[in-house]
């Protein structure tokens, strides 16, 4: 397994973490390392063990074997270590709430559970309500909130005590695009505040935007754990989409003679060619120059990389079932 940023202090370290449910291995021998201040995205098909791993990190589930260290301290489910519990903010995928309380009373209750005293408590309540854009709803009954609002309230509850580690399990599932965007912005704000965040999601475009590192789980194993930059460098191919006036045969012939061109793919729907290119920025500039010099009437020359979703699908991961 790749060790991420070994020079930085580790917020999460697991050793041989294993969880079995009735002979079914949900998480198998996972050695996970997440450095302080990182946003770590956990991806994988349904049933890969992401939720179980997060639940064990939150001490909501006891491991069958292995150890968890948070900020250097060993996490034990059977002991109520209050300091360690204060480090963690955990938002499960079903974010249960108390419908009989108002938004303010709900957050006030959790702030008190986490030993927040006045006047800091009231200040913190105002801050998180502002952050999750629920200030106007502070006196509303929770039962009257929309799903997106409830999800944001769940996040507010998770961060009320200023944890240093945030564990978010599918936080944007079931949200509409606007609510998702709002949620993304909140996570970015928390990232800027220096929180270490471990987030599992099927929305890979969100993770690509938020994360600094990713881990890929499959059938209970952590098969990949690396920085996003390293993942792109190793697994993402560079593409150049080229279009030209007239017939594309000349363009195709010209491209075949160019160095660093690995593969050419004709895209009839957009009347253009996709070039899988292994050269540097300078090499792509030289390619453009040579095409123009060869008299090809280039109308589009667009360089891009394969995104996280393409990489994930390319890896051909399996469903647990």
């Amino acid at each position: 397994m790749t060790t991420i940023a070994p020079q930085r202090e580790l917020m999460i370290r697991t050793r041989g973490l294993t969880k079995e449910f009735d002979r079914h291995v949900a998480v198998s021998d996972v050695d996970l390392q997440v450095a302080c201040g990182e946003v770590y995205g956990l991806i994988g098909p349904n049933g890969a063990g992401k939720t179980t791993l997060i639940r064990m990190l939150a001490s909501a589930e006891e491991a069958s074997a292995g150890d968890i260290f948070l900020n250097g301290e060993r996490l034990l489910t059977d002991q109520s270590r209050s300091t360690l519990r204060r480090y963690i903010g955990y938002l499960p995928d079903d974010f249960p709430l108390y419908d009989d309380l108002t938004v303010w009373d709900y957050l006030d209750y959790f702030a008190r559970l986490y030993h927040l005293r006045q006047p800091r408590r009231e200040r913190r309540l105002r801050e998180v309500l502002e952050l999750v854009s629920l200030t106007g709803k502070r006196s509303s009954q929770i039962a009257t909130l929309s799903r997106g609002m409830k999800q944001r309230l769940g996040l507010a509850r998770t961060i009320i005590h200023e944890p240093i580690l945030l564990l978010l399990d599918e936080p944007v599932s079931g949200l509409d695009p606007i609510a998702r965007m709002q949620f993304r912005e909140i996570i970015k704000a928390l990232r800027e505040a220096g929180m270490t965040i471990l987030i599992s999601s099927h929305v890979l475009s969100d993770l690509a935007e938020l994360c600094t590192s990713v881990g890929i789980m499959e059938l209970g194993y952590l098969v990949e754990s690396t920085s996003l930059r390293d993942l792109y460098r190793r697994l993402s191919r560079q593409q150049i989409q080229v279009s030209a006036l007239g017939h594309l045969d000349a363009l195709q012939a010209q491209l075949r003679h160019q160095s660093f061109v690995e593969e050419i793919e004709l895209l009839p729907e957009s009347d253009s060619i996709r070039v899988y290119f292994s050269g540097s920025l300078q090499d792509s500039a030289a390619l453009l120059r040579s095409l123009i010099a060869a008299g090809i009437p280039v109308t589009e020359f667009h360089r891009s990389q394969e995104d996280l979703e393409t990489i994930f699908l390319k890896l051909g991961h399996q469903q647990a079932s």
């Binding site: 909501a60 069958s64 489910t77 109520s80 249960p96 559970l113």
Partner: protein, 576 residues
């Protein structure tokens, strides 16, 4: 000022504040007030209607005298003739009238407070568990004591309010009936201690029981209702071996409260203080003796032992709560705790069992006393099997990973026996055996202290057969908990229940009496047979049969555990 007070309360115990905020709403308060006032009004009116009334004119003509329980004239069949004062009004025995109201309220309060409170607590916890919010509370840095005491004080707050609204009438009725104020106070203390004990049990049951939906609360409070109703019906006349459980009823104080009034008009035997001088109560006098301390005769003794008993039960319940609340997957008590618990219960119950044998003792009496005592042991060990037997997942984890050690721990291979006696997730069979050994050692000392007339060998035979049966139940429970079925716990309860009830039932249906087949009875239901019926060889065969069954069950358990502990890759490799 109010907000300051609430704020401080919330800082001290946020859980309590949350429960109060959710419950103390104007509508709920009004309903509680209405129930309290209306209920008390109806109660007083129902007793008021029992007072003698002026007879219709026609009756006066016939010169029939008016009679009532509450009159002061000469008694006939427990009913007094009503005399009139100078003004022509009936002379009423008001202290007695108030005493009847007082006793009625005592019974109502002593049953309603534990039963309704138990229901509220279990249903609240199961609702939180089903909704998923209990996990957030568990993950908070507040101590388990703080969280659960918040629940305990907050969830039944409306019930407490109702109790507080009834208190003035109850106290007034008691004082008007000339009940001693100090005893009245001790009744309230006793009531609070018993409620604390039942509520702690409710919290424990609510924390560990899952999968029964809303039925959990009905089941839990139903058991408490049945338990307290039986005790209320029997009053202080509780069979001696069960007296330790009988002390958990707040009504155990009632005879002393009544006695302090000096009124001698209560016809019910069970409401009288059991003293040696009271011939109607000779049968229970011995049961109220703890070793050589005859506590039942004095109110202070009863209060002291009741408080001690409730306090110790509450202590053990909280030990279990502190273990299970954060981690519901663990067994309710650790094996070490179970040994201490057994030792304490043996001490408590042996105190009730040890007695001065009467002068005209027959050989059968000690054996019957032993059977009664073993019945209590049966309840204790069924409870121990329930709290010590780990679930399928824990057993699988134990079998599979018991040799793996933590990075922070010094690698140390503990012996299998050590693990079975003290380990966390190991099967309970050996621990149950050690608990049995503790109990058997105490009982053996008692049997040895029997008078020479009694047959000690029969006593030991009964003890051996009982121990064998308990071990069979423990092995059966563990095997059923290893089943792959979804409702394993229900299967275990059903399986052991069937093993307990079916054999005597089938023997009864087949009309096979203990006299005809003492060996079979000794083998399947030793508490229902007199070992004297069985020859030594028959008794030996019965015990041998039990150990044979136990060996078979143990071999099967060991085989299943070996299978569960095998590496997952083993069957995979075997197929290739």
């Amino acid at each position: 000022m109010t907000f300051d007070w609430l704020d401080r309360l919330g800082d001290w115990n946020p859980q309590l504040l949350r429960e109060l905020k959710g419950r103390l709403k104007p509508r709920n308060l009004l309903i509680t007030l209405a129930i309290a006032l209306l209920g008390q009004f109806l109660l007083v009116m129902s007793f008021y209607n029992q007072l003698p009334a002026e007879p219709p004119l026609r009756s006066l003509v016939t010169q029939n005298s008016v009679t009532s329980y509450y009159c002061t004239g000469p008694q006939t069949y427990g009913v007094s003739e009503c005399l009139r004062d100078a003004a022509g009004n009936f002379m009423i025995n008001w202290p007695f009238w108030w005493l009847k109201i007082f006793v009625c309220l005592c019974v109502l309060i002593s049953i309603a407070l534990p039963v309704v409170g138990t229901y509220l607590l279990i249903s609240d916890l199961s609702r939180e568990e089903n909704r998923g919010t209990l996990n957030f509370i568990r993950l908070s840095p507040r101590s388990t004591q703080s969280l659960l005491s918040g629940k305990l004080l907050g969830v039944p707050v409306l019930l407490y309010l109702l109790g507080a609204l009834v208190l003035p009438l109850h106290g007034w009725a008691g004082l008007a009936a000339q009940v001693s104020p100090s005893l009245l106070l001790s009744f309230y203390v006793n009531l609070a201690a018993c409620c604390l004990c039942f509520y702690s049990a409710a919290l424990l049951y609510g924390s560990v029981s899952t999968g029964l939906g809303g039925f959990q609360a009905w089941l839990g409070s139903g058991v408490v209702l049945a338990f307290l109703s039986v005790l209320a019906a029997k009053g202080s006349v509780v069979d001696p071996p069960l007296y330790g459980l009988g002390l958990l009823s707040p009504l155990v104080m009632l005879p002393h409260l009544i006695a302090s009034t000096g009124l001698e008009v209560i016809p019910n035997v069970y409401l009288q203080v059991p003293t040696a001088a009271n011939p109607a109560l000779n049968s229970v006098v011995e049961g109220l003796r703890w070793f050589h301390w005859f506590f039942g005769a004095s109110a202070a003794g009863t209060v002291g032992l009741t408080l001690l008993n409730a306090g110790l039960w509450t202590y053990w319940l909280w030990q279990a709560l502190l273990r299970c609340f954060r981690n519901p997957g663990v067994t309710i008590l650790s094996k070490t705790q179970s040994y201490w618990l057994t030792a304490w219960l043996q001490g408590l119950n042996l105190g009730f069992a040890v007695r001065h044998w009467p002068s005209g003792l027959n050989a059968q009496q000690p054996l019957s006393a032993l059977q009664g005592f073993l019945f209590l042991q049966l309840l204790l060990f069924l409870g121990l099997i329930a709290v010590l037997s780990p679930q399928r997942q824990a057993l699988q984890d134990w079998a599979r990973y018991r040799h793996s050690h933590s990075e922070t721990q010094v690698p140390r291979r503990r012996s299998l026996l050590w693990d079975l006696l003290w380990g966390e997730k190991s099967p309970a069979l050996v621990a149950i055996a050690l608990n049995l050994a503790i109990a058997a050692a105490t009982i053996a000392v008692w049997i040895l202290a029997w008078p020479p007339l009694a047959n000690r060998a029969e006593g030991f035979c009964l003890l051996l057969a009982f121990a064998g049966l308990i071990l069979i139940y423990a092995a059966l429970t563990q095997l059923l908990l290893l089943l792959k079925a979804r409702k394993r716990s229900l299967w275990a309860v059903g399986g052991v229940g069937a093993a307990l009830v079916l054999p005597p039932l089938v023997l009864g249906v087949l009309s096979v009496s203990a006299l005809e087949a003492p060996g079979v009875y000794l083998f399947l239901a030793p508490l229902l047979v007199d070992p004297a019926y069985a020859a030594a060889s028959t008794a030996g065969l019965a015990v041998l049969g039990q150990w044979l069954v136990l060996s078979l069950l143990s071999v099967q358990l060991a085989r299943q555990l070996r299978q569960a502990g095998a590496s997952a890759s083993k069957p995979l490799l075997a197929t290739h």
